[in-house]
Amino acid sequence: MKSAVIVFPGSNCDRDAAVALERITGNAPHMVWHKDTDLPEVDLVVLPGGFSFGDYLRSGAMSASSPIMAAVKAHADAGRYLVGICNGFQVLTEAHLLPGALMRNAGLNFVCRTVPLIVANDETAFTRGYKKDSIIKVPVAHHDGNYFADDATLEMLEGEGRVVFRYGENPNGSLHDIAGIINKRGNVLGLMPHPERVVDPMLGGEDGVPFFSSVMEAV
């Protein structure tokens, strides 16, 4: 599988994502600078975690208008896979590739914690390697992870099985305990937890491996 990681100024999980992708897929991803306008031909694009543009406006708001985003949208429109992790999820909502918004955590503090995640849908390209309702342990590390959407959107997401991950113990006040959602077409997923940080048994588990290997098999 070929992949690319977009590097925004202030991205800080770009290397972690690259290491995880190389470890699991065997191929190092292309690292693509946010000011570029062309995306190499790849199967998966990752918008990594971090504080792109310092999160000084709203998290992800500036990145959503970066030059590279037109190519990222085209990639998604062509049905290829796109995932946003943490700050990347915030970018996807700001870019309207996913509905809703990620607000300041209900507790107001940054929270770094390994949380139980429930796999709410195991039929997506990102989760076929998991079993529905199984509980995996994945770290969160964010200040703005409190998922919010209006009732109609929430109803739609639930009705269409588009809530993919739910917190077993909600760390941030997200509505419906939402940790990750997918678009209607099933190729664009955003999640706050960091699967790329749990792909090595020496570093607190391998519960993130199926996330990446599922996409590899779907390609």
Partner: protein, 742 residues
Amino acid sequence: MTSTVEATKDTMSEITPEIVAEHGLTEDEYALIVKRLNREPNLTELGIFSVMWSEHCSYKSSRFWLAKLPTKGPQVIQGPGENAGVVDLGDGDAAVFKMESHNHPSFIEPYQGAATGVGGIMRDVFTMGARPVANMNALRFGAPEHAKTRHLVAGVVSGIGGYGNCMGVPTIGGETNFDPRYNGNILVNAMTVGLARTDKIFYSAAKGVGNPVVYVGSKTGRDGIHGATMASAEFDDDSDEKRPTVQVGDPFTEKLLLEACLELMNEDAIIAIQDMGAAGLTSSSVEMADKGGVGIKLDLDQVPQREESMTAYEMMLSESQERMLMVLQPGREDVARKIFEKWGLDFAIIGITTDTGHLTLSHGGEIVCDIPIAPLADDAPKYERPWVASKQQDVIEASEVKAPETLSSALECLMGTPDLCSRRWIWEQYDYTVMADTMQIPGGDAGVVRVHGTQKGLAVTTDVTPRYCEADPREGGMQAVAETWRNLTATGAKPLAITDCLNFGNPERPEIMGQFVGCIEGMAEACKALDYPVVSGNVSLYNETNGQGILPTPAIGGIGLIEDVSRMATLAFKDEGDVILLLGKTIGHLGQSLYQRHIDGDVKGAPPPVNLDKERKIGDFVRTLITNGTATAVHDVSDGGIAVAIAEMAMASGLGAKLATPSEVEAPHGFWFGEDQARYIVTVKCDDAHKVITHILEAGIKVNRLGLVGGNSLDIEGDAPISVEKLKATHEAWLPAYMSTN
């Protein structure tokens, strides 16, 4: 130089004794400036002298004593005197690290004070060519019931997180204490460890004449002017008015600066580089020129400015953050400019190195400063201040300290105190897993990160026990060094070197100077005995408010190397049936213990004595048990003694233990809660126990078989058992409850 002097006369304002005093200079120091210059300085020059000669920048009260610390060893690549210390990790890898205080600003404006402290120490590390891979901190706050404490804790923790998290550098541990002696002066000591290649380390000496001096990073504003002078004075009731001297941090810009600097360091372009920290442009330019033995000429009109009409004085004394000064190879300016423009940062050629030996500044076409560099740097005043030794305290026998109703009730009480409760509320606000190399998260003996792409691990810890330092500065200094050595050893690491942050009160008071001298002597002795030199550090004096000084707090940051992270130890119990061993001799020393403080109610007496030969012998033995795979869990014994150490091992695993007090013990509370040094709890498989005990005894080390891992409670024979779950609930309760109270 005639024209210069005349120009100086033109811009010279009358320097009155009041102006000299406002700059924190004594009459004698001012007289010395006039003598060195052979004339009166102008205001800009006076400002420059005042910051360079401030305690913060010149170490004028401490240099004499700091020279007594051992700084060399085969592992040391760079000792004190550079932006940070450097030690060899083998295979071409090097660790670059330093700890620094940001005490005064953090008290005045806790969020920005702590944030810029973290930003400053990270800059010190990446200036040398290292990518920061771990942050640590040592925090001291006033009594929990003091009106300001809660606000300060909230601000400092959120500031540390706000900066480090945005930079994407994991904060993997630290320590936090509360004591009324910090009511008016909190301590915020931040430490950063970075990784570099041994052949790619960058230094600050500006060698060569005619080379371009380049300014990169954020623009210069009027913030932080005289920050270094503030950090060299006591507080009084009006200290809140010093808020304008606190800088404002921008971690996003620093992240860009980090990436741009590391990118440029891959090109052959940099001769010297220095971050603009305390005393900003002044200290960076003077230090670079002084180390390189050259002069430096700056055109201040070229300095990127955030505000209009800034004077030379303001530009030279501003402590605006996220700025660097570099001397480039001539002809490489465009390579550098391109990289900084890519990252959206200012890049300006602001000067040139010269052969004059002078710092020469021009502004608006006029020379506004022309002073020889040597007196600013090397020739700064150096004081051997008078000191008196602290009074020796009596050793208190355990039998003199009242026994608890039950050992388990005392343990439960201790685990819920501000001194020993869980710091989870703090460290969950720090991203400790970013960079995906964190092998041990906060809450253990030391934080551990893997050296990226290798099997090696870097263990990092910070420690000091200020109440010991006050009771006996020499023993306290030794203990602080020894405890960090023990913390690193407990993970299986070989301790390599330390950085220090020496926080004390007003050195002009002989009893405070006596504490400083005693702590340094103790530290020096421990560093020598443990082959554990000091490679970097910082001194923070005048931590006093209205004449009341802080507890002497020489915070030590230690780093160690784990050759193979698959052979690393953690403190959590592993399996039911494992045998719990105590290595090291227990007398039951309760003087200055947390038991005394919380159960007996009165802290007094001598602190536990440190025996460095034993520290080394027992520590080296424990490390062997870890590297040969015999030890299943390891924890060092410190605050709260054996009972607390075992409770922490139990809580980390959820497993309990069946324990017995050794039959020869006369005062069980002394045995379980005494804080005797040089001790570890080690668990081993039941089948290995006999053989291991034999080996320990053969090595001439005292060992007690305390019991077995198992069940879900801590059960000391003859005492009331307590469930691990209950202990954990008590342990986790205090801090979140405290922070959520209004």
